[in-house]
């Protein structure tokens, strides 16, 4: 593997720290060197990294980490807090004008994903019962207008266009005018991609800005951008007084250092993150979650949110009891699997789990939804008795199950073995999560607290 994720990298560093009782200043320095490297490899701008490391070092010393009982936890905590702050502190929402329509102007380099994002944002606003109008201001890229029209058609949002022969300034002006006349409360103006050093085009977008006086100016940044992200953000900020940033293509395997840099350099909050190709895959950006994800604590908050939206609390409570008392059967297993699948694509869920990034990067580990379907088929081919007492399943039953599910006996064997292992693991896991038991990670504890307060409470068998 050429790269380990930033997450696993930091885990390695602090794993070393965690293993020791006491820390010397050299240990902290060594850890900081690793953090620095990891951040640089994640494309965080080197100036930002420098400041960051200096800050963390200073705080680490100030808090007498060296004498603390669990110094590693203190260091992680400081790094976590500083990361969160670097990415914007608390969550920022989309602006809303007192005098509708609220005008939103998009800006960014070519290929950052402005047009797609404009469509996604309109979709989001529409689901919130707003009446957005899309304005096709990219007259340069071939078929950019057509792209926006198709997106608008998909989500049922009107698109204002004057073709590609009218100046974008005029298009923007008349677009806003039409929104006023037709009572749209949001106007989203798509613009052509431009390099921050292209003076003519930068002047043009400035003119658009002056003509429509937007309430929100969003810079669309590709999450894969390297060191240049800082220069791009700075130039656009100087010209347009940005009010926010949107990160796109965050569902890739990029480590997203751009997210860290952009806010630090411009002071603009990151308002949204685009996490997939479908029109509804746009999420509010949560700096705290991103920070703990980077630190290897997993994005537990997002996971909990997803789980709560999809999992029946009573069923979950019952499941938890079964798991603790090891009454868990193959039938429960099947149900559990269905519940988990409802939360979304498995690889995305795994991304949010602490430590799972490491697993994902292993060469022979592949998230395969088909495999899950096969597993389901196998379990469904069992009789109820077999599901309750897997010990019953002898060779001839295995053969029947394999034939019934279109798999092989080897597949059935593997599943049964996995199920046994899982049961064993669950016992350990529930011991870990039980009262008085201390989870190894802060995220676990937070999860437990969260769940304790919620009705029923639930735990995950993975």
């Amino acid at each position: 593997m050429a790269f380990e994720g930033l997450t696993s990298r930091l885990q390695n560093v602090f794993g070393k720290l965690r293993g020791r009782g006491k820390l010397t200043e050299d240990d902290v320095n060594e850890a900081m060197r690793e953090v620095r490297l990891a951040l640089l490899e994640a494309d965080v701008n080197f100036k930002v990294v420098k400041d960051f490391i200096a800050k963390v070092k200073e705080k680490a010393v100030g808090q007498e980490v060296l004498k603390s009982f669990t110094p590693a936890m203190v260091v992680i905590d400081i790094v976590n807090k500083e990361l969160t702050e670097l990415m914007g502190g608390t969550q920022a929402k989309l602006a809303k004008s007192n005098k509708p329509p609220t005008v939103v102007l998009m800006a960014g380099l070519q290929g950052a994903g402005k047009t797609t994002l404009t469509g996604k944002l309109a979709n989001l606003l529409k689901t919130q019962n707003h009446k957005p109008l899309l304005v096709a201001g990219d007259i340069y890229r071939p078929a950019a207008i057509k792209q926006l029209e198709v997106l608008g058609g998909q989500i049922g949002v009107p698109v204002f266009t004057l073709g590609d022969k009218v100046s974008p300034v005029e298009i923007a002006k008349r677009g806003v005018q039409q929104a006023k006349e037709q009572g749209n409360d949001y106007v989203l103006i798509d613009t052509a991609g431009r390099l921050q050093i292209d003076e003519a085009l930068m002047d043009e977008i400035k003119q658009i800005h002056d003509a429509v006086d937007p309430d929100e100016v969003l810079l669309v940044v590709d999450a894969m951008t390297g060191q240049e992200a800082v220069n791009v953000a700075q130039s656009f900020h100087e010209k347009l007084e940005l009010t926010g940033v949107v990160l796109t293509k965050l569902d890739g395997d990029t480590r997203g250092g751009a997210a860290l840099s952009v806010k630090a350099v411009t002071g603009c909050p990151i308002k949204f993150a685009s996490t997939g190709e479908k029109i509804d895959q746009l999420e509010a950006f949560h700096p705290d979650r991103m920070a703990s994800r980077i630190l290897g604590m997993g994005d537990m908050l997002s996971l909990i949110e997803k789980a709560q939206a999809n999992i029946d609390a009573d069923k979950a409570a019952e499941m938890e009891r079964k798991m603790r008392t090891a009454e868990f059967t193959l039938e429960d297993f099947l149900e559990q699997m269905e519940q988990v699948r409802k939360m979304g694509p498995l690889d995305q869920l795994l991304d949010m789990m602490p430590g799972m990034n490491k697993l994902k990067n292993m060469p022979n580990f592949k998230v395969d939804e088909k495999q899950i379907a096969r597993t389901e088929a196998i379990v469904k081919s069992m009789t109820r008795q077999e599901k309750l007492k897997p010990d019953l399943i002898n060779f001839s039953r295995r053969k029947r199950i394999a034939a019934g599910s279109g798999t092989t006996v080897a597949d059935v064997n593997r599943l049964l073995r996995q199920f046994e292992d899982m049961k064993k693991m669950m016992k350990q896991f529930s011991g870990l999560m039980g009262p008085g038991g201390k989870g190894p990670k802060g995220g676990m504890k937070a999860l437990k607290n969260m769940l304790g307060k919620g009705k029923g409470g639930m735990k995950f068998p993975f």
């Binding site: 050429a2 790269f3 950052a112 890229r141 078929a143 207008i145 060191q227 992200a229 250092g257």
Partner: protein, 331 residues
């Protein structure tokens, strides 16, 4: 430094126009990377840890990959020790030469592999928004200028407006586009396109594909399928599979090269938007860490701004300033 003289002579034999394209397109990279290195070497009077750290930052700041930079710095430290160098100015030519070695690689042929007798099929792959369709448009124009007959395959059936975008480029270049409806199976489009190309007996078939992130297993499998379909119809095709990379991409570019390489057998790279960014640096990392040649670079927005990558031109455009200094020191 006879090395620089040789470089200059070999470049002098090339046309002025191409040289100036490279020089203009890389002006920003030069000012960020080369000028800052030169400034560092004149300002610092001693070679110490602070010196190396600053050098490291300049190189990383230009997106030369972290691994590559670390290796480079290690090498330099070793040289300093071995040769007992104290003055930074003595180290400068060593750095220049090492950087250029990295860029030149093993000196493989950067030109496209063409089938002189039959149809040459070139498949374009890459993540979203890197400029695949635009590159195909420019390349179609280029082949057309060379008097070749060209056909385009609209394989991006996913993104809204992608087919229309390719058609506009087709009109500009005067080239036909084979297409199906949006949302159809891209492998089927390729099948049609290859059949049509055979029927018409064209020289070059350029195949567009939808942008995809390299960690999406299913989409990458789709790419492998497209590859198979083309191969089945024309043995030996695609003759080139070009990974299109946005020059502003950071370290993720290496990951892209790796994963696309595994799934679609990438044979070369196209580096786009190199003019606007300070980041020629990633070229150094890619050449060092991947065994893939850079075939084309996008140095501007005009039709003819897609240039064949010429390592010597690239080196010259980047390090002209450094070379001059190095020679003065030597004399």
């Amino acid at each position: 430094m006879s090395f620089f003289k040789r470089l200059r002579e070999s470049i002098a034999s090339k046309t002025e126009a191409v040289t100036s394209k490279f020089k203009e397109g890389l002006a920003k990279t030069r000012s960020v990377l080369t000028d800052r290195v030169a400034e560092l070497f004149t300002r610092r009077k001693k070679i110490d840890d602070a010196f190396f750290e600053e050098l490291e930052e300049i190189l990383i700041g230009a997106d030369v990959g972290v691994n590559t930079v670390m290796e480079l710095i290690e090498n330099l430290r070793a040289e300093v020790k071995k040769r007992k160098i104290e003055d930074p100015s003595e180290l400068q030519p060593i750095l220049s030469e090492k950087l250029m070695d990295l860029l030149r690689g093993s000196g493989e042929d950067a030109s496209l592999k063409m089938d002189p007798d039959g149809i040459t099929v070139i498949l374009f792959v890459g993540v979203n928004g890197v400029g695949k369709t635009t590159t195909i448009g420019k390349l179609a124009w280029r082949f057309k200028q060379q008097g070749k007959s060209v056909l385009l395959a609209a394989g991006d059936t996913f993104r809204a407006g992608a087919i229309e975008q390719l058609e506009v480029w087709g009109q500009r270049a005067g080239v036909d586009v084979i297409r199906q409806e949006a949302g159809s199976d891209p492998a089927a489009v390729m099948f049609d396109a290859v059949r049509e190309a055979k029927k018409r007996g064209v020289d070059v078939l350029l195949c567009d594909t939808a942008g995809r992130l390299q960690n999406k297993v299913n989409l990458m499998e789709e790419l492998a399928k497209i590859h198979r379909v083309i191969q089945r119809e024309i043995p030996g095709a695609p003759h080139e599979t070009l990974l299109v990379l946005d020059a502003a991409t950071g370290q993720n570019a290496l990951q892209q090269a790796k994963l696309f390489g595994e799934k679609s057998g990438v044979t070369g790279l196209v580096l786009t938007k190199l003019d606007g960014t300070a980041k020629g640096g990633i070229v150094i990392a890619i050449r060092h860490e991947m065994a893939l040649p850079v075939k084309f670079v996008g140095l501007g927005e005009k039709m003819d701004d897609l240039q064949e990558f010429d390592p010597e031109q690239f080196v010259h455009a980047l390090f002209a300033g450094l070379a001059g200094n190095g020679e003065n020191e030597g004399e």
